[in-house]
């Protein structure tokens, strides 16, 4: 029969019995209903064994039904470590077990369980401490045995997305406290975002039993959920996880393939509490589960969790579990009450009225299981002689289900993230918030309120406080309501050690009581060290179900109280997070010049230059050398055109413009006439070169200064920072985007320009080298700079960016007869190297000073002030430790050294190459290199190491390498 454990309605809030869904698990076909998760559908079919444990490969099954443990992790195609508790089934979904050798049912590695005593706590540290490479050998084997799922390296990335979100109040948790908080805050006028990790709102109202009469919770749930869903000030995310709480109420929420980054005015954490397993021998075998897990199976999925149950309890909720089971037709063998007396609540009374057997003052000796620990078959219980001490042989109660309801821990992850602290109350054995930051409010059971009235009142209080924090008039905020029932919720010692062990503290990491005790004995008695040494709480559950027991054992073993032992901090993310969520929609701005598409049309190979794309050369990737040579030759002998729109452009204007430049740059600008351009070198306060450019004085109060492509934004900021202190009368505008630019260079550039420019006198005398003119080029208003970066007659033409393409077209057209050729960055670098020019960032590094780089000539030493002046003076007194020199190889056919190749003297490293290229014009390999000061004299010999055993010989030569008298650029 299909689904033998399925119960009739009204059991099964989430499932749709009208929509059967068929899927496979480990190759076998199963049928469930839409709304089932993998674990509930399998349980409906009597399949309890879901996985094998991490270390010992013991059979594991449903434990929490919340996804907060490793027991339920399964493999989907392309997706490892999926929680069967949470993942909805889908038609034909192929689910398989992971961490299994052979099959889940017959796992060959289960033998490891027998060797458990040879794998003590700290096994890896101890076994592989030495010899040094032993771990490398064992690691492969261990990783195979102790693995989790398989990553599918061929999986296709999905479409992930991110969005910012904004709300006044974020409420995390859609249980009674969260619903009440959301409604109260929204009624006060706050925009509320309510997030819940489950598919439906309601939290514990959907599965837990607050009263002898089950209807109370049902009614409350449908009323509250309806009211929240209809409220126009409340936005609801279900199936969504608030992964963290960061500074200033910054809340990442993942849902589906989207990551929301919520900014809230205030946050209500109504995250509830986590039921804690009791600790006894064989508490890990399938069929042993939390009381709340059994209730979730019953109420949410309509699945009967067993046929005959034993409930271990120390609070009223356990009686509610017993009632639920009995109503679902599960025989209740006994309610094992750890407390001396039977509970006195209404649910305990209802249990008594039903005539169920209650064993007050009893504890657990062990669970018995079928062969291979495949399922629980019974529980051995005995009267308690003291906390954790069952006395005598005890009684074996046969059952196929053990429910544990002995206490809770607050789900306090967000409180920790927000900077809150928790404290343990020894009287009630309860962790509760001790301090919370402003704008963060805990409500409901995370705040130690359990009775439904108190939970709702606490939710309303928190909602009101949060609305007030977010700036809404919410009226007076009452004190948190008292809840006397909370005192009877947690047993201080639901821990029953056994001589033969296998009482699991941490199911994820397969840690038993003895492992914790042993680690403490070995000296790891600090909770932080204990966690790291034993790995307790480091598995997928992140201590949700192990931290409380661990700290109790540590307190007991070290004779301290629980607060003195303390807890480890939980850190984000709260739930599993995919890399896709983090990667999501990534923004990587690309800047294109106005001529970008013309370059593509001309076959340019584009390269990344800072945020820009620039033509490296025009031609195929493989045709570099020939293309660059042709482009260089065109500029040297004829005319070339390069797009320099990526140059930074700063407009510096105002009565103090000249004074400002004097301070920012090393040179002298006050007496620079309008219409002239000067080299401008910038140093920072430590005297290090940070940028260079050309300062064009357009009028008395107006300079136009260029800056290097990558540096302009930083230079602009630095200028504004300095002037925020100097308060000169100057306006500094970053006009980089507004100006496109081209450099028309080569002996025939004047003739080409003359064809499209008739309002500037281009004659050498009228428009000399380092002059600036404003006029029109092809009818476009431009600034024309006669500068010589590439060492030929040339004009840098700066025009409005929205005319850039037309400007480019007009110049190429005008140069057609002269066989003009566009050239790229590589040719430009070669041309400037022949002229010996330094590129800041290429030939300088993070500590290069002007004198080292041979740029001392650009410093106006008599000035009273420029930013790097004092540092430069100090460095000058100290003397140079290196200098940038030009070199040429002795053998003209020597290979070209690369950037970073070392200059050596014997075994000593004395410098490095910053630029090099084989120059046709010079007839040698030339370059720039840092060398020791004693090697910097002209004609010094340098050895450049270009490989392990290959050194080439070079000689220091004067710069420029090409046209040393600068005749060509000044034609």
């Amino acid at each position: 029969m299909s689904q033998p454990n399925r119960l009739p309605p009204p059991w099964g809030l989430l499932i749709d019995r009208g929509t059967p869904v068929s899927f496979t698990f480990d190759g076998r076909r199963y049928e469930g209903y839409a709304g089932d998760c993998i674990a509930s559908a399998l349980a409906a079919n009597g399949r309890w064994l879901l996985s094998r444990s991490f270390k010992y490969h013991r059979p594991r099954g449903v434990l929490t039904m919340t996804g907060g443990d490793a027991n339920s992790l399964v493999q989907l195609p392309g997706q490892p470590n999926v929680s069967a508790d949470r993942m909805p089934i889908a038609p034909n979904m192929p689910v398989s077990a992971q961490n299994v050798f052979g099959s889940l049912d017959r796992d060959r590695a289960a033998l490891l369980g027998w060797f458990g005593r040879f794998m003590p706590v700290g096994f890896y540290y101890k076994a592989f401490y030495r010899p040094g490479n032993a771990f490398r050998f064992w690691e492969r084997i261990i990783r195979r045995v102790a693995g989790l799922g398989r990553v599918d390296l061929d999986s296709r990335p999905g479409d992930y997305d991110k969005a910012y979100g904004f709300c006044d109040v974020a409420v995390v948790g859609g249980g009674p406290a969260g619903l009440a908080a959301a409604l109260t805050a929204a009624d006060a006028g706050a925009e509320v975002m309510l997030v819940d990790e489950h598919p439906a709102l309601g939290g514990s109202l959907a599965y837990a039993r607050f009263d002898a009469d089950r209807a109370t919770a049902d009614r409350l749930r449908s009323d509250l959920v309806a009211e929240v869903s209809a409220h126009r000030h409340i936005a609801v995310h279900t199936d969504a996880v608030a992964q963290a709480l960061f500074a200033d109420n910054w809340l990442p929420v993942t849902t589906g393939n989207r990551l929301y980054k919520y900014r809230a005015g205030a946050v209500v954490a109504a995250t509830g509490s986590i039921e804690q397993p009791a600790v006894f021998r064989n508490n890990d075998v399938p069929g042993v589960m939390l009381g709340s897990a059994a209730q979730r199976l019953l109420r949410l999925y309509g699945v009967r969790p067993g046929r005959r149950a034993v409930v271990i309890t120390a609070n009223d909720d356990g009686y509610g579990v017993a009632l639920d089971l009995a109503e679902a037709g599960v025989a209740v063998g006994a309610v094992v009450e750890l407390r001396a007396q039977t509970g006195d609540g209404p649910m305990a009374a209802a249990v008594a009225a039903r005539g169920l057997r209650v064993l007050p003052g009893h504890g657990v000796t062990e669970a018995r299981a079928s062969r291979g620990h495949r399922h629980v078959t019974g529980l051995v219980v005995a009267p308690l002689a003291g906390d954790g001490l069952p006395a005598g042989a005890g009684e074996r109660i046969s059952c196929d289900l053990v429910c544990m309801s002995t206490g809770y821990a607050p789900d306090a992850a967000l409180l920790y993230h927000g900077g809150g602290t928790l404290a343990y109350d020894d009287d009630t054995a309860t962790f509760a918030p001790a301090t919370l930051p402003t704008h963060l409010h805990a409500a409901g059971s995370v705040n130690g309120r359990c009775a439904l009235d108190a939970v709702l009142a606490d939710g309303r209080r928190a909602g009101r406080a949060a609305a007030r924090d977010a700036g809404h008039d919410a009226g007076p905020v009452p004190d948190a309501p008292p809840d006397p029932s909370a005192a009877a919720r947690n047993h201080p010692w639901p821990i029953f050690t056994h001589a033969k062990g296998k009482e699991f503290i941490d199911f994820d990491e397969d840690l038993q009581v003895a492992d914790i005790i042993d680690a403490i004995r070995e000296g790891y008695d600090d909770i932080q060290l204990l966690k790291r040494y034993s790995t307790v709480g480091m598995g997928p559950g992140q201590g949700r179900h192990s931290a409380v027991a661990t700290v109790r054992i540590a307190a007991n073993a070290t004779g301290r109280d629980v607060n003195a032992v303390g807890t480890t901090t939980t850190r984000p993310p709260v739930g599993p997070l995919k890399f896709g969520h983090l990667a999501g929609r990534a923004f990587d701005p690309v800047r294109r010049t106005p001529m970008h598409h013309r370059h593509l049309e001309a076959g340019a190979l584009m390269m990344v230059a800072g945020p820009w794309l620039r033509p490296a050369w025009y031609g195929a990737r493989t045709a570099r050398d020939g293309a660059v040579r042709r482009e260089v030759r065109a500029v040297r002998t004829n005319v070339g055109l390069i797009d320099v729109s990526t140059l930074g452009g700063l407009e510096i204007r105002g009565a103090d413009a000249a004074e400002f430049l004097e301070r920012m740059y090393t040179g002298a600008f006050s007496r620079q006439p309008a219409g002239r351009a000067r080299y401008a070198l910038m140093t920072d306060e430590t005297g290090v070169i940070i940028d260079d450019g050309i300062a064009c004085r357009l009028s008395g109060q107006h300079y136009y200064v260029t800056a290097t492509t990558g540096a302009v934004d930083g230079v602009h900021r630095a200028m504004l920072w300095h002037n925020a202190q100097w308060r000169l009368d100057v306006d500094v505008t970053n006009a980089t985007a507004a100006w496109c630019g081209v450099n028309l260079a080569g002996p025939r550039s004047r003739a080409v320009l003359a064809r499209v420019c008739d309002d500037i006198d281009l004659a050498a005398g009228a428009f000399p080298y380092m002059a600036v003119r404003e006029g029109t080029v092809a009818g476009i208003r431009c600034r024309v700079l006669r500068v010589g970066f590439v060492g030929e007659l040339g004009y840098e033409i700066h025009g409005p960016a929205d005319h850039g393409e037309a400007l480019w077209d007009a110049l190429l057209d005008a140069g057609q007869d002269a066989e003009i050729r566009p050239f790229g960055v590589e040719a430009q670098r070669a041309l400037r190297l022949e002229k010996g020019h330094v590129i800041v960032g290429q030939d300088t590094d993070g500590v290069t000073t002007p004198h080292e780089a041979g740029l001392g000539w650009a410093i106006a030493g008599e000035k009273t002030c420029y930013v790097g002046k004092r540092a430069t003076l100090i460095q000058q007194q100290a003397g140079l430790t290196r200098r940038l020199v030009g070199f040429a190889t002795v053998d003209p056919d020597a290979p070209v050294p690369e950037e970073g190749h070392l200059v050596v003297r014997g075994r000593e490293i004395t410098g490095r190459v910053t630029s090099a290229f084989r120059s046709e014009a010079v007839g040698a390999v030339i370059g720039l290199a840092y060398v020791g000061p004693e090697q910097a004299e002209l004609a010094s010999r340098l050895d450049i190491k270009i490989g392990k055993a290959h050194t080439i010989e070079a000689v220091v030569v004067p710069r420029p390498f090409y046209d040393p008298e600068n005749r060509r650029q000044e034609m």
Partner: protein, 100 residues
Amino acid sequence: MKILNCPLNGPRNIAEFVHGGEVREMPDPNTCSDAEWVDHVVMEHNIAGVVREWWCHVATAYWFIAERNTITDEIIRTYPASEVFRDRVDFGGPGQGGPR
């Protein structure tokens, strides 16, 4: 992510800003000792407590000053740089007044 309240643009994610170091008095570069200058350009005071820091809102290139408690990371106050730097600074010869 923290929020920083820009005096020009209002509260924004701190990713919109760059940090510009501590607000410090510059010694007179023409008269201070080498050691004083090196200390000025190299050393951050890095005190535990309330510091004054430069911050720049990048999209508007707007520099301002924030008072921040380095122990709690609480930003106490932000205000325009002109509240501290009120007057023009000159580095003239003697008699012109030194830098702040």
